[in-house]
């Protein structure tokens, strides 16, 4: 249990997808003009990460990893399909995103309209594939740990995009040098937030 909580807190604060690895920056920069849409996209990312990371974990451990196919019989014990992992992960992600899109369209049409093009773009949101690849690299022991890692990364991403959206709503009233307006100041503010988040690095988990 403690291990799970550690992974959760770590993936939200210490190894935050945005501030420590810059994953999912494109949609982070494009959709963070208003808090409402930011909350919608953030929730979608939590959901997709929470589903795809455990699914990819199963895929990795029972099909792709070296020796993972041994459940098929001794002949398959030495098969190593790990070079296929990119293409398998992206296929899982694309189909899951399709599923989420259908669900959102059915149950929250207003949100669907607000997200527009960005919902299908979650498929190419680096944080989702990044979550799966980090899961593969860090060798989590159980599917529970993988799920918690996925959810935690999603929550961290949510936190980051909502915070920057709130800052950008207010920053409109400040006097910024003209060439720095819009994109430039967003980059710099994100950098400063990243430095603030570095404070969590000292926590030993």
């Amino acid at each position: 249990m403690q291990e799970l909580i550690n992974i959760f807190v770590k993936s939200i604060f210490v190894e935050n997808m945005i501030f420590a690895y810059f994953l999912g920056m494109c949609s982070y920069l494009a959709v963070s003009k208003k808090v409402n849409t930011a909350v919608g996209l953030g929730a979608a990312v939590i959901f997709v990460l929470g589903i795809t990371v455990p699914v990819n974990y199963l895929l990795e451990n029972y099909i792709l990893k070296e020796g993972a196919l041994s459940w098929l019989g001794p002949d398959f014990a030495e098969v190593d399909l790990s070079f296929l992992s990119f293409i398998m992960f992206i296929a899982v992600i694309a189909s899951m995103v399709q599923l989420v899109e259908m669900i959102v369209e059915k149950f929250a049409p207003a949100l669907y309209g607000a997200l527009g093009i960005f919902l299908p773009l979650i498929a190419v949101n680096c944080s989702i594939l990044g979550g799966a690849l980090f899961m593969q690299e860090r060798n989590y022991n159980t599917i529970g740990e993988a799920t918690v890692f996925g959810l935690g990364s999603g929550v961290g991403w949510f936190l980051a995009i909502v915070a920057i959206a709130a800052i950008r709503e207010k920053i409109r009233y400040s006097h910024i040098p003209a060439p720095l307006r819009g994109l430039g100041i967003t980059f710099i503010v994100t950098g400063l937030m990243g430095i603030a988040f570095m404070a969590f690095m000292g926590i030993k988990l």
């Binding site: 501030f19 420590a20 690895y21 810059f22 994953l23 999912g24 920056m25 494109c26 920069l29 494009a30 070079f83 296929l84 992992s85 990119f86 293409i87 992206i90 296929a91 694309a94 299908p120 773009l121 498929a123 190419v124 949101n125 680096c126 944080s127 989702i128 594939l129 990044g130 690849l133 980090f134 690299e137 920053i171 409109r172 910024i176 040098p177 003209a178 060439p179 720095l180 307006r181 819009g182 994109l183 430039g184 100041i185 967003t186 980059f187 710099i188 994100t190 950098g191 400063l192 937030m193 990243g194 430095i195 570095m198």
Partner: protein, 224 residues
């Protein structure tokens, strides 16, 4: 006779003005990173040192131009509804190729880049160019467009890496640039700025590049 002349009119030289613009435009006026805001995801974490940044740039350049050509060749065959999947499959296969080559020849760098090679798949520049350009243009033009955008991406990456490595560890490509005698431990006045090695400084460096670029080219200034 008339027919021959018509054909001649339609043919465009390989490096006509329009084609050259395909390469030069993304370098500055429509730079993928600083203007179109694409592909930042997998880029910045590997800019601590110049060498991995160079390898990353070359990989993206290859995937982008080759993918553009492939998509452009298939553009009349791809059904509209499943084009995203087709594009992802093309990118993923090219990236697997790059990943295996890197693992075989420069294993250290491929370890250093870790998950970021895989993340070329979700690099928005690539999908963006497929969608916006390769689906509607001839292979040669798409190739040039891929090259242009790849170089536009590369120069930002290399500039950021240059400043981060120089200020952060006093080296370039792993060679000592700042003289040893300048350092405090040797009785000098200089010390490396450790902050440059941390991730947030990549963002701030890009912010400054954007600032410089937009004050030179005021047309790019945004509303807010």
């Amino acid at each position: 006779m008339a027919e021959v002349q018509e054909v001649k009119k339609e043919r465009e030289s390989l490096f006509s003005k329009k084609n050259r613009k395909l390469i030069t435009d993304p370098l500055n006026d429509s730079n993928p990173i600083t203007v179109q805001v694409l592909g930042i995801c997998s880029a910045l974490a590997i800019t601590v040192k110049l060498y991995p940044a160079l390898v990353m740039s070359l990989s993206v350049l290859f995937v982008l131009s080759a993918g553009n050509v492939v998509i452009s060749l298939m553009r009349n065959l791809i059904p509209n509804r499943i084009r995203i999947i087709v594009q992802l499959v093309v990118v993923a296969s090219l990236v697997i190729l790059v990943d295996q080559v890197l693992k075989a020849y420069v294993y250290d760098v491929s370890k250093e880049l870790s998950v970021f090679v895989g993340l070329i798949i979700t690099n928005c520049i690539i999908m963006g160019r497929f969608e916006a350009f390769a689906l509607g243009n001839t292979p040669w033009k798409s190739f040039l467009d891929g090259l242009g955008n790849g170089f536009g991406y590369a120069w930002i990456l290399l500039t950021v890496a240059f400043f981060r490595e120089l200020l952060g560890s006093g080296q370039l490509f792993g060679f000592q640039i700042v003289p040893e005698s300048w350092y405090l431990s040797e009785g000098g006045f200089y010390s490396n700025n450790g902050l440059m090695l941390l991730p947030p400084m990549a963002l701030i460096t890009v912010g400054i590049i954007i600032w410089v670029q937009r004050s030179r080219n005021t047309e790019l200034i945004e509303e807010n």
